[in-house]
């Protein structure tokens, strides 16, 4: 496993960082949570952040914490869908297709919520699950897997996730549609 400094990865995949923070902001706004500070991208750790009001409402916390995961995953799949056929399946020498692949994978790589985002959800989840909140119950495996994957970022789990959904998802969608 080779080591690349985080800031280099962030620069190389900056569209994903910006979209991730934008999604955080978007979900804060629609959930009426105060936002104190936003950084869409910077060279540093973290590469971007949204400082927002905490909440005891699990649904809001889930949406704000996990929202970017779904938004980035969606855009990754869509962009890669536009590129996977020429770039992956047919190997057409098309620079634009490779650009879309880079964009899709950059976005997919930054789908994972930060540990801080997950901690908020993790803290509230047991109590909500005891109250039979369906979202909390469903969230257990999702948040659990994402938590583990987030820790596995040191072994490129984020890139692996981007590639997995950027290639396998369009492939599966395409084969199921034809």
């Amino acid at each position: 496993m080779f080591f690349i400094p985080g800031f280099v990865i962030s620069i190389a995949t900056f569209p994903g960082v910006i979209l991730h923070e934008t999604a955080h902001l978007f979900f804060c706004k629609i959930n009426k949570l105060a936002v104190f500070d936003v950084c869409y991208f910077r060279i540093g750790n973290p590469a971007g952040y949204v400082v927002h009001e905490t909440t005891n409402n699990f649904t809001k916390a889930f949406m704000v914490g996990m929202g970017p995961f779904f938004v980035n995953s969606f855009f990754c799949v869509v962009f890669c869908s536009a590129a996977f056929m020429p770039a992956w399946e047919l190997e057409v020498r098309d620079p634009l297709a490779y650009f879309f692949y880079w964009l899709g994978l950059s976005i997919g790589m930054h789908a994972f919520p930060s540990t801080q985002d997950l901690k908020e959800i993790w803290r509230m989840m047991p109590g909500e699950a005891k109250k039979f909140n369906p979202l909390a119950i469903i969230s257990y495996p999702i948040v659990g897997i994402v938590f583990v994957l987030n820790l596995a970022r040191v072994v490129w789990a984020d890139l692996g996730y981007g590639i997995a959904i950027g290639i396998l998802a369009p492939l599966a969608i395409f084969h199921s549609l034809v």
Partner: protein, 333 residues
Amino acid sequence: MLVVSGQPICLPCAEKRAGEAKSAGHNLEFARLIDPTICGLCKTDYGSSELPVIGGMPACSNCAKGLYERPYPGWLKLAMAGLLLLLAGSLWRGVPYFKAGRHLVLAERAMDQGDYKTASVHFDEVLKVSPTEQKVLLMGAKANLMIGNVGGAAKFMERRETYPSSDLFTEVNDLGNRAVDAYKKATEAEKLYKAHDEEGAARLLRQASNEYPQSENFAAAALNLEISVAFNHKDYDSFLRLSQALLDRYPSDPNVVGGVASALACKYAATGDPSYRKQAEEMLEKARLLALGSPEQKAHFEEYAERINYRLQSRVIIDKPEYDRRFRQEAKR
């Protein structure tokens, strides 16, 4: 101002006490001393009115509005609009690739079922987007080779300069080599045919057909030449057998049906067995009906039907040049 253990403390004193506590091996928890009547953001003093606390900080209504309705920066809106436009553009631009991908999936399915003709039709659509992926090209070439289309296979193979070795490559390469070798034999056969060596040409074409059985053209050409050789040798049993073999391949070709009628007429002329005559007349009628669809076919049918009818009526077997010499030269004059 900060607060520790309920007591207010200024920042320099707090830093001093924190340092002392750390040296003593424990931590002190400081909190910011908040005046609920002063907005934490715009610092406006609202006198005795306590402000609502948002995220642990008093905020006036003006500032609170900003916190809840934080605008997206202009550059971000532009970037997002650009992203969506790019997305739409990429999907629109990807339409030919999606179509090619669909044909690729259908071609692979046809290949799995051994339907190489259908597969080659789909692969031709894939070729339109100029793929270079090895497996796609090799499968496209294989589909074409399996239906005897060497030229079509070459179009796929030409898309790459090198092919790393694989089982599929070995298979396609072997098939291609056999096809090329068969074509060489067919070219030699053509030369022999032009030199009026029909037997030699038929033998070479049969070898070509055996070597590359996927080529319908080689098999048909070999059969046609063998039929001609059998007729020339007055071997009417072989003439009939080979004509029927050709009919099995092309049951709706009026010329092939006419060829069987011709062979049956020869058998009648040679044996006098009326069952051959009856069968010949039936085949001739079938050929007539099949030829109705095209003026060229109809004209061709009328030409050979006249000769076959002559054979049936006279029981004399002569070839076309002789028939033309005897009966048609007169007509021309």
